[in-house]
């Protein structure tokens, strides 16, 4: 297992290296440069040029790249142009919010998706099945940001839920890990916990739609596959109770592809999070990225893209490991 992990990590290095060169070179080739984004309204082109010179942007590109790489290897990705704070620090500060949001969305998707998919398969062709299929098809066809706005406008007020933000403004909650719920529990600030949960509901629901739809469909398809397998027929003909057949055989075997899907969808959530966090002013990585795009904050974009790649490699590895635990056949490889 360890050798497998090490090999995977080593494999990722050239990919990340090439990615870093591509991103760096591309960003450097753009007109304007960071000075335009760093200075405000009053900056004349001369002052912008002066600042670009001060920043060393007129040096040969490979000199700049190795400077960047040297700092990046020590974890220093420079400072943001928008906030002038270290980008790495920003990522560390904002990551917990995204994890919190993503996990909540994934839990919603799993808790609703798997039973819905299972029921749909069990009563194939019936009304339940049809409703589930139609909803799951619509679920992937609705633009996420539009859904978010609709929830804000239509659901927030009647349900008494906050329509934006991650915490009530000015709420004096202790921040230790920056996971709002966890911090609240650790310090027994129960009102802060409740506040954080309320703020999570709408954005998490909006973010959950696509994984929910996908998980439902995969569960349905996979359960249908399993129901047709010989060993189910065998089990049934052996006279095992429906209960045993369903839980021991159908669900267990049917869930394998679902686990993979959950892994894949977790990665895809990062994309959806950009839209959701932007709409709901939820201060996570997606918010950071959207703000970086709007303000052309190149150091921040650069760091976020590379960070995204690293995380993705890690998530892939984690899923592989968990897959190995569920399916012993994988371990052999």
């Amino acid at each position: 297992m360890l050798r497998f992990l090490v090999r995977r990590l080593l494999q990722a290095i050239p990919t990340l290296f090439i990615l870093s060169i591509l991103v760096f070179a591309w960003l450097r080739s753009l007109p304007g440069g960071p000075a335009a984004a760093l200075l405000g309204d009053k900056a004349t082109p001369e002052k912008i040029a002066n600042l670009n010179h001060v920043l060393g942007l007129d040096q040969p590109i490979f000199v700049q790249y190795f400077g960047f790489l040297g700092r990046a290897l020590t974890g220093d990705f420079g400072n943001s142009l928008v906030s002038t704070q270290p980008v790495m620090g920003e990522i560390v500060t904002f990551l917990p919010a995204t994890i919190e949001l993503g996990m909540t969305a994934m839990i919603i998707a799993i808790v609703i998706g798997i039973p819905a998919g299972y029921l749909s398969a069990r009563y194939r062709g019936g009304p339940v099945d049809n409703v589930v299929i139609v909803l799951s098809l619509i679920g992937v066809a609705v633009p996420v940001f539009f859904l978010g706005y609709m929830m804000q406008d239509i659901l927030a007020a009647p349900l008494g839920l906050p329509s934006q933000g991650r915490q009530a403004a000015g709420l004096d909650a202790t921040a230790i890990t920056n996971f709002a719920i966890l911090d609240g529990i650790m310090t027994s600030e129960w009102d802060a916990v409740w506040d954080a949960i309320k703020h999570l509901i709408l954005p998490a629901c909006a973010l959950a739609t696509i994984p929910l739809a996908v998980i439902t469909r995969i569960t349905r398809a996979s359960v249908l596959d399993v129901l047709n397998e010989d060993f189910i027929r065998t089990a049934n003909s052996k006279g095992l109770t429906q209960q045993v057949v369903r839980t021991r055989h159908v669900l267990r075997n049917g869930l394998l592809p679902v686990v993979t899907t959950i892994g894949l969808q977790t990665g895809a959530l990062l994309g959806g999070a950009v839209l959701t966090e932007r709409v709901f002013n939820f201060r996570g990585l997606g918010f950071l990225l959207a703000e970086g795009i709007e303000r052309r904050d190149y150091p921040r974009l650069q760091a976020l893209l590379l960070f995204g790649a690293v995380v993705y490699v890690l998530v892939n590895m984690l899923v592989d490991i968990s897959y190995g635990i569920i399916d012993p056949r994988v371990r052999v490889r």
Binding site: K47, N50, S83, A169, S188, F280, R296
Partner: protein, 556 residues
Amino acid sequence: MQQLRLTRTRRVALIGLAGALAVSLSACAESKREEGAGGGTGGTMIFGAAGNPKMFDPAFNDEGETFRITRQIYDTLIQNKPGTADLEPSLAEKWESSNEGKTWTFTLKSGVKFSDGTPMDATAVCFNFNRWYNMKGAAAQSQMIYYGDVFEGFAKNEGDASGDPVYKSCEAKDPATAVLNLNKAKGAFPAAFTLPSFSIQSPTALKQFNADTVTQSGDSFTYSEYANKHPVGTGPFKFESWDQAKGEITLVRNDNSPSPAKLDKLIFKVIPDENARKQALKAGDINGYDYPSPADYGLLRNDGEQVLIRPSFNVLYLGINQANNPKLKDVKVRQALAYGINREQFVKSKLAEGSEVATEFVPKVISGYTDDVTKYPYDVNKAKQLLQEAGATGLTLKFYYPTEVSRPYMPNPADTFTAISEDLKKIGVNIEAHAEPWNGGYKDDVQKAGKQDLHLLGWTGDYNDAGNFVGTFFGRKKAEFGFDNPQLFSALGAADASPAGDAHAKAYQEVNKQIMDYLPAIPIAYPTPAIVVGPKVKGLVASPLTDERFNTVTVS
């Protein structure tokens, strides 16, 4: 479990739970949650700001979101009377110029102390002027946009900076008298002393927290501990904390201030999305926010919120570059463009309530504005006729406009472009559209390379001086406009040199007439942004300069 609560300042420094537990023991005295209007008189105000501040040392800053906060922490020598661009005393009770505008004598308010308890006297004032003048390092100097604008040069210019310093020396004659000696007179004074970049900061704190250290970090800068954590001034509030994760900047009342606040606490909550700010106000999460969308004014008022309209201090113009298309050198063609744009309809349909059609390049509140200029009301036939006379029918123009930007003078460039280009098509001008990202080279192409025939740009005034507008635009030959009119340049130079007061205003009125006859560009509108506060907020005065000071504000 109350003991576990810490004040936010300390929290920032914490790394782990262990640290939290350790500090909490010493901090339990201050650990109380604010509930509404706590112990003080005016309560707590939470204001939704539109963007992140960079840090809190205004000397290194040139953008509004940082100034919004530093204006509460610091005072300047002279300030703008609330709601206007007129001057009134602040730290200086009196000011006068002598020696043909080359010497400025400030009589300071006595007994004023910074929030750290050190005295705000003539020595402190001169310390600040000397600090700016003697600033070292290209990184630091390149950030001091306003100092560079007004005082033109440093003791030792670094980087590509050049320019002879306007500043000569500062003498503290006695604790209440500071004398500023300049190498040359400028029309910008005394109004420029109101600029937030020239806020008077505590010398002790500046020195203690190494305020002058500005270092490069990648493509950006790291500012000093002073600028990030320990800004000290005489303003109505003092800095308490900046929580990056929440996007909250917390200020508390400064009891040492000469203009003390009524509020106990003032929190700026950064909410970049306009819609989210509106939602937050509706939900009662914040007590007010900046830059509401013009579409929402009515709805906000119906909800009982107060929409405060700022008098306009902006001008939006359609730039004309005469260098690329010889037809544009003909004043008739430029006049045709002016007649051909339905500015009335644009202002009514696309700009916020309170905005007006611009008749010249300075807004109405500026001294130097005159109603007596040549005007170009919407007239399609006249426009077509002028084009015909000039032999410029079927003219094709390259029209540059920026994307990914919204400014008080240019709330929506794409909409502005759509409206204007539609009008121009109607008079037979073909438009070749060029959209460019604001931070992706727009200014370079338009102001330095001069690639365009037409372009959108504007200006927000910094202080009450017409030269800050027309002098900046048309004071010299520029790639942006591509014309050479020595007569106009010298008239602007003379107006800038004329002494402050009536003569100054008169000189600029004449220049404005001249400009509107020559028509080097077309003024489109005086857009005006608003600020909105909830029904319980009292005492906030909207300022044309977005110079809202929260010391008079209460929240019931």
